[in-house]
C-alpha cells in the first residue's frame, strides 16, 4: 500500500469520525447532568438514599426534589451508560483523541459537584467521625467499643443502626489520621472528611496517570476510566469513603515499584493496610515479582513502626486486625454475589459452609495468581485480579469495594481485568434496579 493511499485513508477516517468528539462532549454533559441531578435532589433531604446528616448542603435545598429510588436509578443508569459509551468512543488507537485538559475538566467538574452536595448513600463517614470522637473527646478506645458508648454525643444520631454497637474495623493509621478532625464538631469533621476524600481521589488519579504513562499506556484514558466511573464518583467520592485513601496508598506503592523504589513501595503497602487491611493483598505479588529483599524489609520496617504506634495509641486491640476482618467477613449483604447465587439455587441465604467454600475459592485464586506472577505475569494485574476476587467472593459486598481493582486495571496490559471489573460493577448496578419495576412506598 502506498504512502499516498494510507494518507488518503487517514484523512477519510478523520472526516468520517467528525461526530466522535461531539458525541463524547454530549456524553460528558450527561455525566455532569446526572451527577448534578443526584446531588441537587439529595440536597432536598428526607430521602432513603441520603443518610441523615447535619445540614451541609442546605444552600442547595429547594432546587431539586426529594431523591427517590426511581430518579436515583434513572440517573445512575444514565451515568453508567454514558460512561460506557464514552470509554468505547475514546479508546485508542481508533477512538476519538481527547485532550488531557478536557479529561481533567470533566473529572474536576464531577468531583466539585459531589463535594458541594450532601453525603450520598452511606452512613460510613459518620462512623469514622464517631470513632474519632470516641478516642479524642471521650477517651474511649474505638477498637473495644462501638459508637453506642457515646450515645450522648451529637454524632451518634447519624451513625447507621447496624454499626452502633460495632467497634472499628479500620486500620490504626486511619483512626489516628481521623483524630485531628474530632474537635471540629460533627459538621467540621464532615467537611474535613469530604476534603480528605476529594484529595485522596485526586491523588489516586494523579498516580494512575503516572503509572499509565510509565507503562506506555494512554494516561488520559486511564484517568477517565477511574475518575468518571459512576461507582467511584457517586458512591466512593459521594460517600467520602476511606477506601479512597486506601486506593491512594495502593497506587503510590505501584508508582514507587515502577520507579524501582522497592523498600518504599513495601512500606507504603503496609501503610495502606494500616488504613484498610484489604490492600495488603498487593504485598505477596510485589515481593514475588521483584524477587528482592528490599520490599520485604520496607514492609517489615513499616509494620514494626505501625505496630508500635498502634500499641501505644490503642493497646493490643489496635493490632488485632484479623479478628475485625473475621467479624466483617461473617456479615451478609443482599447485594453480594454469594447471596444472589444462593437465591439462584433456591437457598434462603448464605450458610457457614458457603463462607468456607468462598474462602477456599479465594485462596485458590490468590495462589494461582502468585504462581503466575512468579512465572512472569504482571504483578499489578495479579493484584487486581485478587482484589476483584475478594469483592466477588465477599458475602458483604458494597459498591465501593468493587472500586479496589479499578486503578490497577487501567495500568496493566491485560485488558481482561478492566473488562471483568467493569462487568462486575455493571452487574452490581443492575442488581439495584428492582425499584424501577416496582417501587415500595
Amino acid at each position: 500500500m502506498s504512502v499516498a493511499t494510507q494518507s488518503e485513508r487517514g484523512v477519510a477516517r478523520i472526516r468520517s469520525d467528525w461526530w466522535r468528539p461531539a458525541l463524547v462532549s454530549l456524553l460528558a454533559l450527561l455525566l455532569v447532568a446526572a451527577t448534578a441531578e443526584l446531588v441537587l435532589d439529595g440536597a432536598a433531604g428526607r430521602s432513603p438514599l441520603v443518610p441523615k446528616s447535619p445540614p451541609i448542603a442546605g444552600w442547595l435545598a429547594g432546587i431539586g426534589e426529594r431523591l427517590g429510588y426511581r430518579v436515583f436509578l434513572i440517573a445512575i443508569l444514565s451515568f453508567a451508560g454514558a460512561y460506557a459509551a464514552m470509554l468505547l468512543l475514546t479508546r485508542r488507537p481508533r477512538g476519538a483523541v481527547i485532550s488531557k485538559r478536557w479529561a481533567i475538566v470533566l473529572i474536576a467538574a464531577l468531583h466539585a459537584i459531589v463535594f458541594a452536595g450532601p453525603i450520598l448513600i452511606s452512613t460510613d463517614v459518620f462512623s469514622y467521625i464517631a470513632y474519632a470522637r470516641m478516642g479524642v473527646e471521650h477517651g474511649i478506645n474505638p477498637y473495644l467499643h462501638g459508637p453506642a458508648s457515646i450515645s450522648h454525643d451529637p454524632v451518634f444520631q447519624y451513625v447507621g443502626h447496624d454499626w452502633r454497637h460495632v467497634a472499628t474495623a479500620y486500620g490504626p493509621l486511619y483512626t489516628l489520621l481521623s483524630y485531628p478532625f474530632a474537635p471540629l464538631g460533627v459538621t467540621g469533621a464532615l467537611w474535613a472528611m469530604k476534603i480528605v476524600a476529594q484529595l485522596a481521589s485526586l491523588g489516586t488519579l494523579a498516580l494512575t496517570w503516572r503509572c499509565a504513562r510509565r507503562r506506555d499506556l494512554d494516561p488520559v484514558w486511564a484517568i477517565l476510566v477511574v475518575g468518571a466511573n459512576p461507582l467511584y464518583v457517586i458512591y466512593g467520592v459521594g460517600g467520602a469513603h476511606n477506601d479512597l485513601l486506601m486506593l491512594l496508598l495502593m497506587m503510590a506503592a505501584v508508582s514507587l515499584t515502577l520507579a524501582g523504589r522497592d523498600a518504599a513501595a513495601g512500606a507504603v503497602v503496609v501503610g495502606g493496610a494500616l488504613v484498610k487491611a484489604t490492600v495488603a493483598a498487593l504485598l505477596p505479588f510485589m515481593i514475588l515479582s521483584r524477587r528482592r529483599l528490599t520490599p520485604i524489609l520496607g514492609a517489615l520496617a513499616a509494620l514494626a513502626l505501625g505496630a508500635v504506634i498502634a500499641y501505644l495509641a490503642f493497646g493490643v486491640h489496635g493490632l488485632d486486625v484479623v479478628s475485625a476482618l473475621n467479624r466483617d467477613a461473617a456479615f451478609v449483604s443482599t447485594d453480594s454475589f454469594a447471596a444472589e447465587i444462593a437465591h439462584l439455587f433456591g437457598k434462603p441465604g448464605v450458610f457457614p459452609v458457603d463462607h468456607d467454600l468462598l474462602k477456599a475459592a479465594l485462596v485458590l485464586i490468590a495462589l494461582q495468581m502468585m504462581w503466575r506472577t512468579w512465572r512472569g505475569y504482571d504483578w499489578v494485574a495479579a493484584s487486581g485480579w485478587t482484589l476483584l476476587a475478594i469483592s466477588v467472593t465477599s458475602t458483604w459486598l458494597l459498591a465501593w469495594y468493587i472500586l479496589w481493582p479499578l486503578p490497577l486495571a487501567v495500568v496493566t496490559r491485560d485488558r481482561r481485568l478492566l473488562v471483568a471489573t467493569l462487568a462486575v460493577q455493571a452487574l452490581f448496578l443492575a442488581h439495584q434496579t428492582s425499584p424501577l419495576f416496582a417501587t415500595v412506598q
Binding site: H431, A438, Q441
Partner: protein
C-alpha cells in the same frame, strides 16, 4: 530503574528445575492458557449475570407483594400513612407472611400507638388478606413482650397473654 530490572539476578534461582524458576516475563506460548482462563471468566460472568437477573426478578416479585401489603394496611385502617414498617423475618422470609405496622393516629413514625397486621395469601385486586394482628405502645419496636390486643388466627401465641 524500570520494571525490566526484576530479572537482574537470574543465577540466584538457577538451582531450581526449569519449570520452577521465576521469569521476568511470561513466555508467549500458544495462547492455550489464556483461552482456558478467558473461557472460565466468561462462564463465571454468565453465572453471575444469571444470578443477578434472577435476583432482580425475585426482588421485583417481593416488591409487588409489599406494595399490596402496604395498600392492604391503608385500606384496613382507613389511614393513608406513608411511614409504615415492614417485618418479613417474623414468620420466615420463605413463608411470605408479612407484618405491617403503623400509627393509629397522625404523628411521627412509631410516635403513637401502633397497629400491626399479619398479611399473607395471594394478591387479589392489588391487596392481600389480613389474618390477624396486634397493638404496640408508642415508641417501641415490635417485640413479643410489648404486644397487646392480639386478634385473628395468625396472631395466636404472638402476645404475652
Amino acid at each position: 530503574m524500570s520494571e525490566a530490572s526484576t530479572s537482574a539476578h537470574p543465577d540466584r534461582f538457577s538451582r531450581l528445575p526449569a519449570w520452577l524458576r521465576p521469569r521476568g516475563r511470561e513466555l508467549p506460548g500458544s495462547g492455550r492458557l489464556r483461552l482456558v482462563e478467558t473461557t472460565l471468566l466468561v462462564l463465571l460472568g454468565l453465572l453471575l449475570a444469571i444470578a443477578t437477573v434472577n435476583d432482580v426478578i425475585r426482588q421485583t416479585h417481593t416488591n409487588h407483594r409489599l406494595i399490596a401489603d402496604l395498600a392492604t394496611w391503608r385500606v384496613y385502617t382507613g389511614h393513608a400513612y406513608h411511614n409504615l414498617s415492614i417485618e418479613q423475618e417474623l414468620f420466615g422470609t420463605a413463608s411470605q407472611h408479612e407484618v405491617i405496622c403503623g400509627n393509629t393516629s397522625p404523628g411521627a413514625p412509631k410516635a403513637r400507638t401502633q397497629l400491626c397486621l399479619v398479611i399473607y395469601g395471594p394478591i387479589s385486586g392489588a391487596r392481600r388478606t389480613v389474618h390477624g394482628g396486634w397493638y404496640l405502645p408508642p415508641k417501641v419496636e415490635d417485640v413479643r413482650g410489648d404486644r397487646y390486643g392480639c386478634f385473628g388466627a395468625a396472631s395466636r401465641g404472638m402476645c404475652p397473654r
